[in-house]
């Protein structure tokens, strides 16, 4: 990791208005991000996705964001017009969403979708765009790019669809990718292959990556640094390789819950939540 900071988030709060009252989804999250792989872990509903979406200005209409600072290089993300957002979102910062299948157009071939996306960002003729699109598919390790190019999203497996999504994200050469559970619907082996692609992008293109997942083991083996979230708070921040030395009882509790392949069949420890964790 280089010491250069790409993104600074200070005291981010996301609150939703609902008929049943306010939902405080993100509570005072702060972090700096360099050219590195930052993991965000935590249980369902802890605010991982909403943290990612707030950075990209994608908070739902019933939500409100406040932050002391949200700075991405030369851009103040807290004060952008819709026109300025278009220059950042999808171009300099991309997000891979939790449900890849819904993000692809079901009635258009994969090749046509990539070409369309490519030509939005690059002034090239159709032939050139087609070549680039095939290159993109190769870059995400699709072995038979011609076949995938000509197929529709429903004709591809979950793993293929996810790789296609990543190929599309790469077109504008973003500086930061936010990947929200990009692999949880996949086979373990395909999951790791997709992560290797993201890993190479960080190394080869100097990209920064925010990797959101509830899988602690995956995050600790993949990322450089980890934020652990609980009920909207970051309760602990540590180097990924130090996750097994976590101090916070919540992080420790989550690690203990995992079944192990040690042949021990006795009951797993469960998590005893404490009210004080959410006071942060």
């Amino acid at each position: 990791m280089s010491s250069e900071t790409l993104l600074t988030v200070k005291n981010l709060e996301v609150t939703f208005n609902t008929p049943k009252g306010k939902v405080h989804a993100v509570r005072g999250v702060s972090f700096d991000l360099g050219r590195e792989r930052l993991g965000i872990v935590g249980e369902s509903g802890s605010g991982k996705s909403q943290t990612g979406r707030a950075i990209l200005g994608l908070t739902a209409a019933n939500g409100a964001i406040t932050a002391d600072k949200m700075q991405f290089r030369d851009v103040d993300l807290a004060n952008l017009t819709p026109k300025q957002w278009r220059k950042v979102r999808g171009a300099r910062i991309s997000m891979i969403m939790q449900d890849p299948k819904y993000s692809l157009n079901p009635v258009m071939t994969i090749g046509d979708q990539i070409i369309e996306a490519y030509r939005e960002h690059h002034k090239v003729n159709a032939k050139e765009a087609r070549l680039r699109a095939l290159e993109m598919l190769e870059a995400v390790k699709i072995r038979d790019p011609e076949r995938v190019f000509n197929s529709y999203p429903h004709e591809t497996s979950g793993g293929m669809g996810q790789r296609v999504m990543i190929a599309m994200m790469l077109i504008p050469d973003p500086e930061l990718i936010i990947a929200d559970e990009p692999t949880s619907a996949l086979d373990v082996t395909v999951q790791l292959q997709v992560m290797a692609i993201l890993d190479d992008l960080v190394r080869d293109r100097g990209m920064a990556l925010i990797f959101i997942s509830h899988d602690l083991q995956l995050i600790s083996s993949f990322c450089d640094r980890v934020l652990v979230m609980y009920q909207g708070h970051v309760v602990e921040e540590l180097r990924a390789s130090e996750l097994h030395n976590a101090k916070h009882p919540y992080t420790k509790g989550l690690l203990n819950c995992l079944p192990k392949m040690d042949g021990d069949h006795s009951d797993l420890p469960t998590l005893e939540r404490e009210a004080s964790w959410a006071e942060g």
């Binding site: 996949l186 082996t189 602690l216 083996s221 192990k260 069949h265 469960t270």
Partner: protein, 254 residues
């Protein structure tokens, strides 16, 4: 308790199960793992009578199964489905979801049975008149298990019972399943893509690839990592987390 031999199954021209043999003793727990699309769910669905085109023999508690399952079969064996959201009727209360199978089987005494089944899965009576969307993922999965238990089956066919859940809730559901097996003497076949989950829950494990069982192992062998088939070894390495060098050795199996 369950003997499956030379099971083959097709969806139109797609031959999805190829000579699958599985044997589970009473009170045993058998784990099926393998890549996505390898046929794990199809094994369970064939046993419960949800697949039409199959050949081979399936014997459950000494009785050979024909093309159709009768009511007695469903009192003996129940399936818990892969998707906890899709498998509970969204506009029925938990009470109705649990009462229905009792009435279909004419068992009577449904009130006491519902309370009993909810207690078995650790949900108190307050949940009885809620709807599925008013429950957390783990609570919904408990309801799905309660619905399977309410007919007092001896066999549970569990299709990825925890893969949609958080690790902390997964631990609660796995402990629950372990306790039910001990207390009620149940027999399980459990499908998962998570090697650690089946190693923890099962005595015997089969690894599937492309409709075939490519390797069998005991939980002890898994713990030692003594797997021989290259696909099983790949699965075993993948379960160890992310390692760039290991990923480079992976082969595509499609």
């Amino acid at each position: 308790m369950i003997e499956i031999s030379k099971l083959n199954a097709w969806f139109d021209d797609n031959h999805v199960l190829k000579d699958v043999d599985i044997s589970v003793p009473a009170n045993g727990s058998f784990g099926l793992v393998g890549e996505s699309g390898s046929g794990k769910s199809t094994v369970l669905r064939t046993v419960t009578g949800l697949v039409d085109d199959w050949e081979g023999t399936i014997t459950v508690k000494g009785k050979k199964l024909g093309p159709k399952r009768d009511k007695d079969f469903y009192r003996l064996a129940q399936m818990v489905f892969q998707d906890p959201f899709g498998s509970l009727h969204p506009r029925h209360t938990i009470d109705r979801i649990l009462t229905e199978p009792v009435n279909i089987h004419g068992l009577g005494n449904s009130d006491a049975r519902v309370v009993e089944a909810l207690t078995q899965v650790g949900l108190d009576n307050a949940f009885r008149f809620r709807y599925p969307h008013q429950l957390s993922g783990g609570q919904r999965q408990r309801v799905a298990i309660a619905r399977a238990l309410i007919l007092e089956p001896k066999i549970l066919l569990l299709d990825e019972p925890t893969s949609a859940l958080d690790v902390s809730i997964q631990a609660e559901v796995l402990n629950l399943l372990g306790r039910l097996r001990r207390d009620l003497g149940l027999t399980y076949i459990m499908v998962s893509h998570d090697l650690a989950v089946v190693a923890h829950m099962c005595d015997d494990i089969a690894i599937m690839n492309h409709g075939r069982i490519v390797e069998r192992a005991t939980a002890e062998q898994l713990a030692e990592g003594t797997l021989e088939h290259p696909y099983s070894q790949q699965l075993y390495k993948a379960a160890g987390g992310y390692d760039r060098a290991v990923v480079d050795t992976f082969v595509d199996w499609d």
